[in-house]
């Protein structure tokens, strides 16, 4: 068996220790500045001139990319006076945003109520609850749109009680990525990024990061991965044609949209875990499948794929069924 290509780099020595402050005043200051890691082995015939990097958002303190927009939306709500002491943060979410809001609410002293479909993963429910959030479950057969509609009803019944960040329609969601994710990727690739690939849920990641990168270099290609079918198992992703389209979504900002099958995405999760030592969630598997499709058509390029979270929050889900069947 050939030497693992990462070995040479590993023996080149560890990276310099962080020169940041030794003590932070709040966990919220750990949000952002996530690492970019090169994918060395799972390349499947991609030409040598093309480099693939994963932006590993699982290193955020809430465990996902959603810490960024959640913090930005809460900050904006406080600044605008819409979130004031005594109010409860309320939103619909299929998981990661809920965990992020629950963590931020705990850190800032605001109660949090989350509406989620009953079939989100057990780890997600438990994490949000562990941060002290109140959970309300919507009909699993209605998907995330069912949670959105139930959340609207709860808000309408007592509008003064709540602050609803409304991640699907809040400009602070893409703004968080315009202000942080985009600049980080630009800096981490020294401006060499040619493609940015991410899954599409609220579309905040791709809208905000894409806008920033295009402003730096209009040639950067923005690639969205979405489920190829409305009936899918890619938690966190939306099949746009059959969903309530988020207000922040602007299809014109996407250069390429690729439909990914659930099974392909799951298999990619297993491979990245075993062949790279990077255990990510299923939406990241879909994004990486899309990245490889794009990469194979290039001669050279620097592709950054956003890995929204780690796979350990899906070990209770059907994703694990496939892991169990591996040889």
């Amino acid at each position: 068996m050939a030497a693992h290509p990462a070995q040479a780099r590993f023996f080149a020595g560890p990276t310099a220790p962080s020169e940041g402050p030794l003590v932070l005043p709040s966990v919220l200051q750990l949000i952002g500045n996530t690492p970019l890691v090169e994918i060395q082995r799972v390349r499947d015939g991609v030409p040598d001139g093309v480099r693939l990097f994963g932006k590993i958002e699982g290193f955020n303190p809430g465990g996902s990319v959603k810490d960024r927009p959640a913090l930005r939306m809460v900050q904006e709500g406080m600044r605008q006076g819409r979130l004031t002491p005594g109010k409860t943060i309320l939103d619909s979410t299929s998981g990661n945003t809920g965990i992020a809001l629950a963590m931020i609410g705990a850190a800032l002293g605001y109660p949090v109520t989350l509406v989620m479909p009953a079939n989100v993963s057990r780890e997600r429910k438990q994490m949000a609850a562990a941060f002290g959030a109140e959970l309300i479950f919507s009909d699993p057969l209605e998907g995330s749109d069912g949670a959105i509609l139930l959340c609207r009803k709860i808000l309408a019944a007592d509008p003064d009680r709540y602050f609803k960040p409304d991640q699907y329609n809040n400009a602070a969601n893409p703004l968080a990525h315009y202000e942080t994710t985009g600049p980080e990727i630009w800096r981490q690739t020294a401006g060499r990024v040619t493609h940015f690939v991410a899954g599409i849920g609220t579309s905040g990641t791709i809208m905000g990061t894409g806008r920033y990168l295009k402003e730096q270099n209009p040639a950067v290609q923005i690639v969205a991965a979405e489920p190829e079918d409305a009936f899918h198992g890619l938690e966190g992703l939306k099949h746009m044609a059959t969903s309530i389209v988020p207000g922040i979504y602007d299809e014109a900002r996407i250069d390429v949209k690729l439909g990914i099958a659930t099974d392909e995405a799951y298999d990619m999760v297993y491979r990245l875990g075993r062949e790279e030592g990077i255990l990510i969630g299923q939406s990241c598997g879909a994004a990486y499948v899309a990245a490889l499709r794009v990469a194979r058509s290039l001669r050279e390029g620097t592709i950054v794929v956003l890995f929204a979270d780690f796979g350990d929050r899906y070990l209770s889900t059907n994703l694990w069924l496939g892991w169990q069947q591996l040889p």
């Binding site: 959603k66 979410t93 299929s94 998981g95 990661n96 945003t97 989620m116 479909p117 079939n119 989100v120 993963s121 699993p140 057969l141 209605e142 998907g143 995330s144 749109d145 069912g146 949670a147 959105i148 991640q167 699907y168 849920g201 609220t202 489920p227 079918d229 409305a230 009936f231 899918h232 198992g233 890619l234 938690e235 966190g236 992703l237 939306k238 099949h239 059959t242 969903s243 309530i244 659930t262 099974d263 799951y266 299923q282 889900t317 059907n318 994703l319 069924l321 496939g322």
Partner: protein
Amino acid sequence: MTQVRVPTPLRKLTGGSEAVEAQGDTVASLFADLDTRYPGIRDRICDESGQVRRFVNVFVNGEDIRFLQQLDTPVKSGDEVSIVPAIAGGR
């Protein structure tokens, strides 16, 4: 007749119905009958080898058939079968 509850993304096959009826002694035969009534629905639930797709959960009266007898799980008149995607899309 057994009642089958259908998730939103598959309702375009059932004319928009959230709950439909079908006949069968097991989940497999129920799905076969369901497919004659709503052509194409079985292929959405099961893969080429006939097994329930990895991301789909099927419940008989609230019990996951993976912990019962899979597709051989018996069903009878009055039972409720739910087809639920393992996850909920949209973050």
